[in-house]
């Protein structure tokens, strides 16, 4: 059974097409793994019957010679994507019981490509958090353990998406990234996480957090698998006016292409005071791996880096306060009855939203309110342009940028949740890419002294995910990272 869990998606597609294994066997192995790893709290709504039905359909498609590129592959979905007839909560009390009557574009493209839905995965409430601890279902737990056995955060917001792929209870998964919500949990759990270019994947049918920053992306165990599923997720969608009319190449073709002669930028501003030595060490290691692979390393400057987080914490809450106005207890979601309409709104929203969501709604409302709009929101938008310009000029000179993904390895559950700003600092290296709309990938690069995964982040110019895949696979080849968390379903490598 564990042999099935060890396969990468690329290997599984081969074995399925050779009829060496069936999708129902593969899917059943994952369903068993969901059971044995249930203490990690990754699945908030498992969809076992749907999975079995989709697996049967995939087996028929292979028999008929009409299998799509993801046919028969068991995939988990962050509970932020609307799934038709399957509860979608954004891990918020206000949406408990919400059952969409439609399917998000990204997930429907995955099912059309033959993917098998295992269930809905845990995340921070409305994707607001960096530890998965704001979820109404409680935190997803990292399958890697600290030496003293303490339970670690899987990261967030897409904690369940990262943890399930690392623990072997999903072959691949999808999540969303507004300020690092794919890359940070991927780094914490030792898997590959891709945040595509803004506009690359349709946002239609994804519960909105900050519309100018949100992007969907995949979690996988290898760079090759990332390219495989991403090729199926991407593409223009007339239902999302911000989705780009840009062709989608077959990204699997560029994985393992040489980085010889590529120019890789190292931004000096990402050396932060008080940064873990281990992070500095892995960053230097990544740099020398790429040099050995034939790339040229270039020191670059992204002068506005340190303003990215405060800029983000105006823009994201401002957009969130507007997006979350729709949860009013009238059209969907839960309601708290009251005498008047306004009292009903206020009671419903106070009861339905958790603490961090309310905090961000209030910050956003404040930043957009009369008298403060120019000082906060307009100022943040100006700084956002400067951050984007930093990247624009950097990419005139380099093909990709190498940074650490996170300032630390995974931390203990409960360690940061009481201090919002400390929690926000987790996203210090990931937020700039969202503000600039550029693609980023986190690839597992090694272990800390505590035996926990550390990730390296690569950034590229808009729509150059191909470069991310070739540089990330060069790092993957040299790092020989062994995905072996203590609390996985079976041996994964």
């Amino acid at each position: 059974m564990s042999d099935l869990l060890k396969m990468t998606a690329t290997q599984a597609v081969f074995s399925l097409s050779q009829k060496e294994i069936s999708s129902i066997e593969l899917t059943n192995a994952y369903i068993d793994a969901m059971e044995t790893t249930s203490a990690l709290n990754n699945y908030v709504t498992p969809t076992i019957e749907i999975a079995k039905q989709m697996a049967e359909n995939a087996d028929k498609a292979y028999a008929a010679g009409s299998a799509g590129p993801l046919a028969g592959l068991p995939i988990g979905v962050k509970d932020l994507f609307c799934t038709k007839d399957t509860q979608t909560t954004a891990c918020s009390g206000i949406l408990k019981g919400f059952t969409p009557t439609y399917e998000s574009t990204v997930t429907s493209q995955i099912w059309q490509s033959g993917g098998v839905m295992l269930g809905k995965l845990n995340c921070d409430e409305f994707a607001m958090g960096s530890s998965n601890e704001t979820s109404i279902f409680g935190p997803a737990v990292n399958p890697w353990s600290a030496k003293d056995g303490a339970a670690l955060s899987a990261g967030g917001s897409s904690g369940g998406s990262a943890s399930s792929v690392a623990a072997g209870s999903a072959l691949m998964s999808v999540g969303t990234d507004t300020g690092g919500s794919i890359r940070q949990p991927a780094a914490f759990c030792g898997v590959v996480g891709l945040k595509p270019t803004y506009g690359r994947c349709s946002r239609w049918g994804i519960v909105a957090f900050a519309s100018s920053l949100d992007q969907a992306g995949p979690f996988t165990r290898t760079v090759g698998d990332s390219a495989l599923i991403f090729s199926a997720m991407a593409g223009h969608d007339s239902k999302d006016s911000t989705s780009a009319s840009v062709g989608v190449p077959n990204f699997s073709d560029v994985v393992n292409s040489s980085v010889e002669g590529m120019r890789i930028g190292i931004p000096g501003e990402y050396h932060m005071d008080g940064m873990d030595d281990e992070i500095t060490r892995i960053w230097k290691q990544g740099r020398s791996w790429l040099e050995q692979a034939g790339a040229t390393i270039v020191d670059i400057s992204l002068p506005h880096t340190r303003y990215a987080l405060p800029c983000y914490y105006i823009i994201a809450p401002a957009e969130a306060s507007s997006n979350l106005a729709r949860y009013d207890g009238v059209r969907y979601g839960n309601r708290v009855d009251a005498e008047t309409l306004d009292e009903m709104y206020e009671a419903t929203r106070a009861a339905g939203f958790g603490e961090e969501v309310q905090r961000r709604i209030l910050i956003g409302t404040y930043a957009l309110s009369a008298g403060y709009y120019d000082a906060y929101y307009l100022k943040a938008q100006q700084v956002r342009r400067l951050i984007k310009q930093d990247f624009d000029s950097a990419f005139n000179n380099v093909d990709a940028i190498l940074t650490p993904t996170t300032p630390t390895a995974a931390f203990e559950l409960g360690a940061k949740i009481s201090d919002p700003i400390t929690m926000y600092l987790n996203d210090i290296f990931t937020v700039p890419a969202n503000l600039a709309g550029i693609p980023g990938i986190s690839v597992p690069a090694g272990l800390s002294k505590q035996g926990l995964p550390l990730g390296l982040q690569l950034l590229a110019a808009p729509f150059r995910e191909d470069r991310l895949f070739s540089v990330a696979s060069a790092i993957e080849t040299q790092a020989q990272f062994s995905l072996a968390p203590a609390r996985a379903a079976g041996e994964l490598s």
């Binding site: 009557t101 914490y313 009013d328 059209r331 600039a436 709309g437």
Partner: protein, 95 residues
């Protein structure tokens, strides 16, 4: 920027969030801290910089003005907390 209890209540009212007296005090400290931290943005010289609302700066695409769906009242109403016939129900708004 200090955000006093009254300011918190005013913002909460704008955001349609009911908050208790006790909570408004906690939030006053919380929001004050976050806004103080955000104010480092003032160090940045943004004179003459055009605000960036979205990296997607091209104009919105046009489409034909056609009906593409409809007759789905049941779907629209399906997740509503309270309905009557083809309508959403809310507390009485006018006398």
């Amino acid at each position: 920027m200090a955000v006093d209890k009254h300011a918190v209540k005013k913002i909460a009212r704008l955001a349609r969030l009911q908050i208790s007296e006790e909570k408004s005090e906690l939030l006053s400290a919380d929001l004050g801290n976050i806004l103080n931290w955000i104010e480092q943005l003032e160090e940045v010289d943004t004179t003459g910089i055009e605000p960036l609302a979205s990296v997607n700066e091209h104009s919105l695409p046009w489409r034909e003005d056609l009906v593409t769906d409809g007759e789905i009242n049941d779907q629209v109403l399906k997740n509503a907390p309270e309905t009557a016939g083809e309508f959403f129900v809310v507390p009485k708004v006018v006398e």
